[in-house]
């Protein structure tokens, strides 16, 4: 089963675009984008074994730490910069989002929405740190250090002067996207495409 958030991003990425995938892991999304959308893509990944896996698939990948920023990358040097389900693991998420919008004409970010009602309920009624498909870790071994909500991300965009170009809300990795009222309560996964907009140019 293909991940719906990947399908969504695939759908949003223009054919033939230049794409930078931050925290690209084994390169699943990147490989799909190259195959389906004919993009010129490369990834950034911190884990040596994941970098090896990308290289083995013939992908172009940079072994590095996102939290160090994207200083080596020129302004608007990519059509699309993607951060898929890694935002919550960064030490400096605000810096990275800002850098994404500088380096990419379009920045696509997906993350688990911490304000989903089940998450809220686990904390409110269960009295323990929420665990779900999207947040599968115990509190003591989670890599997620900067969880946020749909509401929070919108606020970050507004602070950074980023324009929200597209947004989509998912109820799981498997279920197709459908219009979802009250997304901050009902979406488990949020996907945003933002840009520096007209003010930046």
């Amino acid at each position: 089963m293909r991940r719906i958030d990947y399908l969504l991003i695939e759908d949003w990425v223009p054919r033939g675009a230049t794409v930078l995938d931050l925290g690209c892991g084994d390169g699943d999304l990147l490989a799909e984008l190259i195959e389906k959308k004919d993009v010129r893509g490369s990834g950034v990944e911190i884990s040596p074994s994941a970098v090896e896996a990308c290289v083995a698939r013939g992908l172009s990948v940079y072994h590095g730490d996102l939290d160090e920023g994207l200083a080596d990358y020129d302004d608007a040097s990519f059509d699309v910069v993607i951060l898929s389900f890694s935002l919550q693991q960064l030490r400096r998420p605000r810096l990275v989002v800002r850098e994404m919008a500088r380096v990419g004409k379009l920045a696509m970010v997906s993350f688990p929405n911490f304000a989903h009602w089940r998450t809220r309920a686990q904390l409110l009624f269960g009295g323990h740190m929420p665990i779900s498909n999207e947040l599968p870790y115990e509190w003591y071994d989670t890599p997620n250090i900067h969880l946020c909500t749909v509401h929070d991300f919108r606020r970050l965009c507004s602070h950074e002067g980023l324009r929200i170009e597209r947004e989509a809300y998912l109820r799981s990795f498997e279920k197709r996207a459908a219009p979802l009222p009250l997304p901050n309560l009902r979406a488990r996964i949020a996907v945003f495409a933002v840009s520096r907009g007209a003010s930046a140019t």
Partner: protein
């Protein structure tokens, strides 16, 4: 080889062919060929012309019918053509990159055809300052023309022409070998499909020029250097040894030194209150310096370090991304975390320049405490990504050669395992006592202390007992 189990490693779900029980490249014959015979001398970057040129080289594996599996491996400052395998069954040490080259290894000799040649200006069988100048019948000495990394690459291009190899699946090397690999991609973009550049830079860094200059001054200050004319008399061993000691320090790291030697004393319990080699690190460096002089020519050290210092791909004021503009190769750039001769930022600079024009480039940083020499040592941390890169490149490599004729160089002089080159240059330098194994080795001669062996002496014998290979 034949009995090697077919257990190739996969990365993700991609088989990269790394065997669990990698074998040895076996016995390899050193070869030489004479190229650039007058009047077709090689035009050097300096404006001089050089010819004829003897090039010493070795090959491993078999060239495919389609000529699409050739990999050129480049050596570093003190290396030579003997990159893997043995020259004779009783050789104590294999070639300098044997950890990566052989059946089932990252450069799998069951799949790839590996070529390594000694650079011109060298003393490993190729024409260099110790060779006989055909015009005078005497060794060149410092009348040998100044050569550059670019010139080394052009000599290799002649060798490939001679072998009938039009295009390379990959060209790779570390340190100066990495510079040659980068130069190949720029000088002959149509001949290179992939580049692996390790522990290197697109221009020689200032600090490295500084260390090289100290090394050269040490050699030239040795009275035995005699303006470069020392062949047939006393060689400037003291100067060359000091140059090597300085070099060695730059190849290690603070961490490597601390772990390998600490402040440990050499077979004594207290200071001797003299200037003898009290500390293990002193004893080690003295041994490394001394043993180097037995296999390396001092003038070659001058020439090769000069070539390194002159290396600057941006010479003439071009930006690096502009230099790489017409490059078509795929790149794997590898840095080593504790390398202070070529720290990761110098490799990142290369990646950044390639990325500007959206070239295919991957960057991999090996976490290692071994300093610059890590590229010769960290087998387990390097082999996966190298094997994966080569395999992925081979998949996308569709090359139809115009002339698929590898002249298996049966006509090239296969020198005996003693390594005496046909032009006699080598024997004039190293003498009959230097075995081919001595001539192996990259920048680190990888000698380890013989455990528990008490030896304290200032002389060569004591040092050899302590640091020589068992």
């Amino acid at each position: 080889m034949a009995d090697r189990a077919d257990t190739s490693k996969t990365i993700g779900d991609v088989p990269v062919g790394l065997g669990d029980d990698a074998g040895n490249a076996g016995i390899v014959a050193p070869r030489t060929v004479v190229l650039a015979e007058p009047p077709d001398k090689l035009s050097l970057e300096s404006g001089d012309r050089l010819g004829p040129i003897t090039v010493a080289y070795e090959t491993y594996g078999t060239l495919s019918d389609r000529c699409d599996n050739a990999i050129l491996v480049q050596h570093a400052l003190s290396g030579d053509a003997h990159v893997a395998g043995l020259h004779a069954p009783d050789d104590k040490r294999p070639g300098w990159w044997d950890i990566l080259i052989g059946p089932g290894k990252a450069l799998d000799t069951d799949k790839y055809f590996i070529i390594c040649s000694n650079v011109i200006g060298g003393c490993g069988g190729s024409t260099g300052p110790s060779s006989i100048d055909p015009r005078t019948g005497e060794p060149y000495g410092i009348r040998f023309p100044i050569i550059t990394v670019g010139d080394m690459v052009e000599a290799q291009a002649l060798l490939l022409d001679h072998l009938g190899i039009e295009r390379l699946l990959a060209v790779m090397g570390g340190s100066m070998g990495g510079m040659q690999a980068l130069q190949w991609a720029v000088a002959h973009p149509e001949r290179v499909h992939q580049v692996i550049a390790m522990a290197t830079a697109a221009r020689q860094p200032t600090q490295a020029i500084a260390f090289n200059e100290v090394g050269r001054q040490a050699i030239m200050a040795d009275p035995d250097w005699n303006g470069g004319d020392y062949y047939g008399r006393g060689r400037p061993a003291k100067g060359l040894a000091v140059a090597r000691m300085i070099g060695h320090i730059t190849y290690l790291s603070d961490e490597a030194m601390r772990e390998k030697f600490g402040r440990r004393l050499q077979d004594i319990h207290d200071y001797s209150f003299t200037f003898s080699a009290d500390f293990q690190v002193e004893s080690y460096l003295r041994y490394q310096g001394l043993s180097f002089t037995e296999r390396f020519d001092a003038n070659t050290y001058l020439y090769i370090t000069r070539a390194l210092d002159y290396f600057d791909m941006t010479r003439g004021g071009r930006s690096l991304s502009d230099v790489f503009r017409d490059v078509t190769a795929r790149f794997l750039v590898m840095a080593f975390s504790s390398d202070w001769l070529h720290p990761p930022y110098q490799l990142k600079e290369i990646v950044s320049a390639l990325r500007t024009t959206h070239k295919h480039v991957s960057y991999y940083e090996v976490e290692s405490g071994f300093g610059h020499d890590a590229f010769l040592l960290e087998r387990e941390k390097m082999e996966g990504v190298i094997a994966a890169f080569l395999a992925s490149g081979a998949r996308t490599y569709h090359f139809s050669p115009g002339k698929p004729t590898f002249r298996a160089s049966a006509d090239d002089a296969a020198t005996d395992a003693g390594g005496a080159a046909t032009d006699g240059a080598r024997s004039s330098v190293s003498g009959p006592g230097t075995s081919a194994t001595e001539a192996a080795g990259g920048e680190l001669a990888a000698e380890e202390p013989a455990a528990g062996e008490p030896a304290r002496g200032e002389g060569r014998r004591g040092l050899r007992r302590r640091w020589g290979r068992g």
